[in-house]
């Protein structure tokens, strides 16, 4: 195991940022800490790095107890959300910093430092920018300098705090892909914090979903997306329709009125909320078994998928995603009445009762 966190708790005054967090990250693994702001993900990252001391619990890095070790002894590569580049130093000096501050006995010679820094700058494709200053770089370039600087000390692991948070959508996507390639090349254990589920699902080997200082679920992107452990994960991953439901005999009813849905999903009386992903709702012109009626309210057809907002007869709104082909086939118009079938339903015991 590369990084082990045992039962870590951290409080800021009366706000509990982390509550009994335990986590293991394997060598070479890429883990995303995903959660809304205030969920404790950045605090966990800072506790692992040593920037923030934990109130209780232990941090072990590569089998070495690190709980009370100094930040500088942990050898972690940390990329800050706003990069925290040294503004008065050139790109070259920024990357060289970690080598220059070493004690005399460990410090490489000037020629070696130069070689190593230029290698790293080549790796992040900034070798032509060595003499520039941070303020002369674009956001994406700064991010790469920060990464090169973190890698210069040959860290045990890489910790990235919202690595793409401050970049625009296009640069984000490019950099994400590039970072994954780089990571595959280096094979370094890394943990990154994000509030963007798409980013987490795309980049990580495993995703840790956090909420209010606790871990809600740990799993591969597939597990997290297809088998969310609870309501929070289901809702946080986004793109989901939420309905109240009630059970009558063997039958499940959606919302307040008698819209019946399939009872083949094994719902019982504990369940009174259901979640249905937009692409797991199917629209048809003719009624089918377990279909329910709805009216089309809005159509967004720009994009690879067509998103249709429907109003179920119980009064609740939902969105449905279907392919362009299917959309053309059905020839849907705003205001039309259609039938909808739920192909998959996710239900959790809730506290809401009708």
């Amino acid at each position: 195991m590369s990084i082990q966190v045992f039962d870590v708790t951290k409080k800021f005054d009366d706000f509990t940022a982390l509550q009994n967090i335990s986590l293991e990250v394997a060598e070479g693994e890429r883990v995303a800490l995903l959660g809304p702001s205030g969920s404790g993900k950045t605090t966990l990252l800072r506790v692992i790095s040593g920037l923030e001391p934990a109130d209780s619990g232990r941090v072990v890095i590569r089998g070495n107890e690190m709980t009370d070790e100094k930040v500088s002894d942990r050898k972690v590569g940390f990329v800050f959300q706003h990069y925290a580049l040294f503004r008065h130093m050139s790109v070259f000096e920024n990357v060289a910093f970690g080598l220059r501050v070493r004690s005399k006995s460990e410090r490489p010679g000037n020629a070696d430092i130069k070689k190593r820094v230029l290698e790293l700058l080549k790796l992040v494709r900034l070798d032509s920018m060595a003499s520039r200053y941070p303020s002369q770089l674009s956001g994406g370039q700064r991010q790469r300098v920060a990464l090169a600087r973190a890698l210069a000390i040959e860290p045990n692991m890489l910790l990235l705090d919202e690595p793409f948070g401050a970049l625009d959508a296009k640069v984000r996507r490019e950099l994400r892909q590039w970072l994954r390639e780089l990571h595959d090349k280096l094979g370094m254990t890394s943990i990154f914090v994000t509030h963007d589920q798409e980013e987490a699902l795309e980049l990580a080997d495993r995703v840790v979903v956090m909420n209010r200082g606790r871990i809600e679920q740990i799993g591969t992107p597939d597990e997290i997306y297809h088998h969310p452990a609870n309501e929070f994960v289901c809702e946080f991953l986004g793109n989901v329709n939420f309905f109240h439901c009630r059970l009558e005999g063997e039958k499940v009813y959606l919302g307040n009125t008698g819209v019946r849905i399939s009872d083949k999903f094994g719902l019982d009386s504990k369940h009174n909320k259901v979640y249905i992903r937009p692409h797991r709702l199917e629209i048809s012109r003719v009624p089918a078994e377990d279909s329910f009626g709805a009216t089309i309210r809005l159509i967004h057809s720009a994009g690879p998928l067509v998103r249709v907002e429907i109003e179920v007869h119980s009064g609740e709104r939902a969105s449905v995603e279907l392919s362009q082909e299917r959309f053309c086939e059905l020839d849907l118009k705003k205001g039309e009445a259609v039938y909808v079938v739920a192909k998959e339903i996710r239900a959790y015991p809730g506290d809401y009762s009708i």
Partner: protein, 294 residues
């Protein structure tokens, strides 16, 4: 591209010129008021000082400056500045560091406290030390018993000057360091830098212009301070007189020419300060431009 920008600039200038439509009379009056103000409050006094200083010829001027008492006053003034400024740099750095990088109880109170020397009359500042360390003061008997002289001696003058000039460096640095936060310091520490390395290589370079600016203001004030020093100095000629006090004594003795001659020294000090201040601002903006332009 450059031509196009040039054209656009010219067009903008024309618009700007066209919008200045005040009649010549109003413009003339406004300019005149500003000029009269400058002449009456700045140029006239300076001319009077220079003229007064040279009233009895260049020889007398240098004589007034080189007489032993004047030289002693100049030496004392420099000595006080040399002791005061480093102390206040230390204090300013410590206070700004604490206020900008840490959260603690009483932070607001400390911020207010730092401004205290600005809001208290300098005479009071001097009097405080007389009341504490003077012969009739709280610690007076004990100090006398141990033969330690504070009031009416160098330590008292330094103490009063330190007090009066203490806000300069801190006031320059606090907003600067608060704006910069401590992310860069965290980055340095995580890269393996020690506390000292972080300070010398990251914090100090980031605040150097603000610090220099504060040092210059602090120095100027330390050399020019009159009120507080006047109370604690005791006006012993050749021993506890600083330049400003020396000017006062000369003036009171009706040696106007000598008083003006010594004043001209302090005036030159003001010019040097202004020049340095401009140089630093220019250097600073040049450096930011250099790092901001591609």
């Amino acid at each position: 591209m450059a031509g196009a920008t040039g054209l656009r600039k010219r067009a903008a200038n024309q618009v700007a010129r066209a919008s200045v439509t005040e009649p010549p009379l109003v413009r003339g009056i406004l300019t005149a008021i500003a000029l009269i103000f400058l002449v009456v409050f700045l140029i006239l006094p300076i001319t009077v000082i220079v003229a007064g200083a040279l009233a009895k010829g260049v020889q007398f001027y240098f004589q007034a400056l080189t007489e032993p008492v004047a030289l002693a006053a100049a030496r004392l003034t420099l000595l006080v500045a040399v002791i005061t400024v480093p102390l206040n740099v230390l204090f300013g750095l410590a206070a700004a560091w604490a206020l900008a990088k840490f959260d603690f109880v009483g932070k607001k109170f400390l911020t207010t406290l730092i401004d205290l020397p600005f809001s208290v009359s300098p005479v009071i500042s001097g009097l405080i030390y007389v009341l504490v360390f003077g012969a009739q003061g709280v610690l007076g008997p004990w100090l006398q018993a141990h033969d330690i002289k504070i009031v009416f001696a160098l330590p008292g003058i330094v103490l009063a000057t330190v007090f009066v000039t203490s806000p300069f460096v801190a006031r320059e640095l606090i907003p600067l360091m608060q704006a910069q936060g401590n992310e860069e310091e965290n980055a340095a520490i995580i890269l393996g830098a020690s506390g000292w390395q972080t300070f010398w290589r990251v914090t100090l370079p980031n605040i150097k212009w603000g610090l220099l600016y504060g040092v210059i203001l602090c120095t100027a004030r330390a050399m020019g301070e009159f009120g507080a020093v006047s109370v604690v100095s005791g006006h012993i000629r050749g021993l506890t007189n600083t330049l400003p006090l020396h000017v006062e004594i000369l003036y009171n003795e009706y040696s106007f020419t000598a008083a003006f001659a010594v004043s001209s020294l302090l005036m030159m000090l003001a010019f040097v300060t202004l020049a340095l201040k401009h140089f630093i601002e220019w250097q600073h903006s040049r450096e930011t431009n250099l790092t901001a332009e591609s």
